[in-house]
């Protein structure tokens, strides 16, 4: 059996409900006949948009890790916590499983997500035909894993709300939290704008030759 993609067959599938369409007439401003979502053969300007979001995330991940995410003030002065020092605090305080989770979610995941998206973009732009199935799987992992980086934001939010004992002790979220939240959101949007079907287009093209 010969295989064929929807694009080669001149068909478009709806990204929201999955219905296949055979477009007639000019191929712009088309909407799904069933659920009304905009139809595209590939996500529009996928590579450019993903790069833009990714570069912004690369820039913001620096302040996200250097600036304090939490500032705690007490009678004895104030103390600041970056993401890394939060992990170290948990590690020393005995709850090492949580320290490991936090390290993976707040440090390992954001950095590896940036690197993996960069790899996917570069490999698509170089029209690589290497291991497309693995790269697609990598993309699916990226899509799933990004949300877990939000843990640190929620920790900061809860501590801020709970530890309000006036001059005795109080915790505020620091500027690092803003940058960190922005990195999470930007990389989630970047994963959403990347079109994994672009990984397979060069594979199809080289097979056709």
């Amino acid at each position: 059996m010969t295989t064929m993609t929807a694009a080669q067959a001149g068909l478009m599938s709806c990204h929201a409900c999955g219905l296949l369409h055979r477009p007639v007439g000019p191929a712009h401003d088309l909407v799904c006949t069933r659920c009304g979502a905009a139809l595209h053969t590939r996500k529009p300007d996928s590579i450019k948009r993903t790069w833009a979001l990714l570069i912004a995330a690369y820039i913001l991940i620096i302040p996200a890790n250097l600036l304090p995410v939490m500032i705690s003030g007490s009678l004895f002065g104030s103390e600041t916590d970056t993401i890394m020092s939060g992990v170290v605090f948990l590690w020393i305080d005995g709850s090492w499983p949580l320290a490991v989770i936090l390290f993976i979610a707040s440090i390992a995941v954001p950095f590896s997500k940036l690197l993996a998206l960069t790899y996917l973009l570069v490999s698509v732009q170089r029209r690589s035909t290497l291991a497309p199935a693995q790269r697609t799987r990598l993309y699916r992992v990226l899509e799933f894993v990004g949300r877990w980086s939000m843990i640190d934001i929620y920790v900061a939010a809860l501590l801020t709300a709970l530890v309000q004992f006036g001059g005795l002790m109080s915790i505020r979220a620091g500027p690092g939290a803003i940058a960190f939240g922005a990195v999470v959101v930007l990389t989630m949007f970047a994963a959403e704008t990347f079109d994994p079907r672009l990984i397979w287009d060069p594979v199809e093209a080289s097979r056709g030759r």
Partner: protein, 202 residues
């Protein structure tokens, strides 16, 4: 021509014939392994039940305090919205917005949209604006992060336990249960069955 139903993989665009599945079956793309569609037991009823349960828990989880804290004779407690308010008052507007969006707005929208679609369909009517609400469910899903929030709460409690005595609130348990119900509603939502039901009712 109508008998031949085709499906394009959303991850690699491979065109394939749609095959009927057994109950509980999953269709995967033979080329890249993406899950294409599933056939769920009880069609949409289970999703409706999970969504109803989630709606109740969502209200409880937002109305009651998540945790209370006692230190040196002081007592403090907060609801989820209270945490958002505190961030907002501390001029952390964007972080407050992010927390509000991912833990209150998006999960709430997802539950409400599912109920809006499934309740009338159950009663034999097609709700107004069904296509738009269907797309809303699709768009909102990645941004609801109840399960991540719960893990964040756990980390926060561990940190606090070092300096004060921590009293878990009703909302904490509600969030725990809400996490499972939201995930179950999402996993059981069979979009094939939805569109078939819409055809039946019309």
């Amino acid at each position: 021509m109508h008998a031949l139903r085709l499906h394009a993989c959303h991850d690699c665009d491979l065109l394939q014939r749609e095959v009927p599945l057994a109950l509980g079956g999953t269709a995967r793309c033979p080329r890249c392994g993406a899950v294409l569609y599933r056939r769920k037991a009880d069609g949409l009823d289970r999703t409706l039940a999970y969504s109803l349960g989630a709606a109740v828990l969502f209200l409880i989880a937002n109305a009651f305090p998540i945790v209370g804290l006692e230190a040196a004779g002081h007592h403090s407690s907060t609801t989820l919205f209270g945490a958002v308010r505190q961030l907002y008052d501390d001029d952390m507007t964007s972080v407050a917005g992010l927390v509000f969006t991912t833990t209150i707005l998006m999960p709430g929208l997802e539950i409400a949209a599912l109920l809006y679609l499934l309740l009338p369909l159950k009663l034999g009517r097609v709700p107004r604006g069904l296509p738009a609400v269907f797309r809303l469910v699709h768009a909102v899903r990645p941004w609801g992060m109840v399960e991540v929030f719960l893990l964040g709460t756990l980390v926060a409690l561990t940190k606090l336990a070092a300096l004060a005595s921590v009293v878990p609130g009703i909302a904490l348990w509600s969030f725990g249960a809400l996490m499972f119900l939201v995930a179950a509603a999402a996993a059981s939502f069979d979009t094939h069955a939805l569109w078939e039901r819409v055809e039946e009712v019309r």
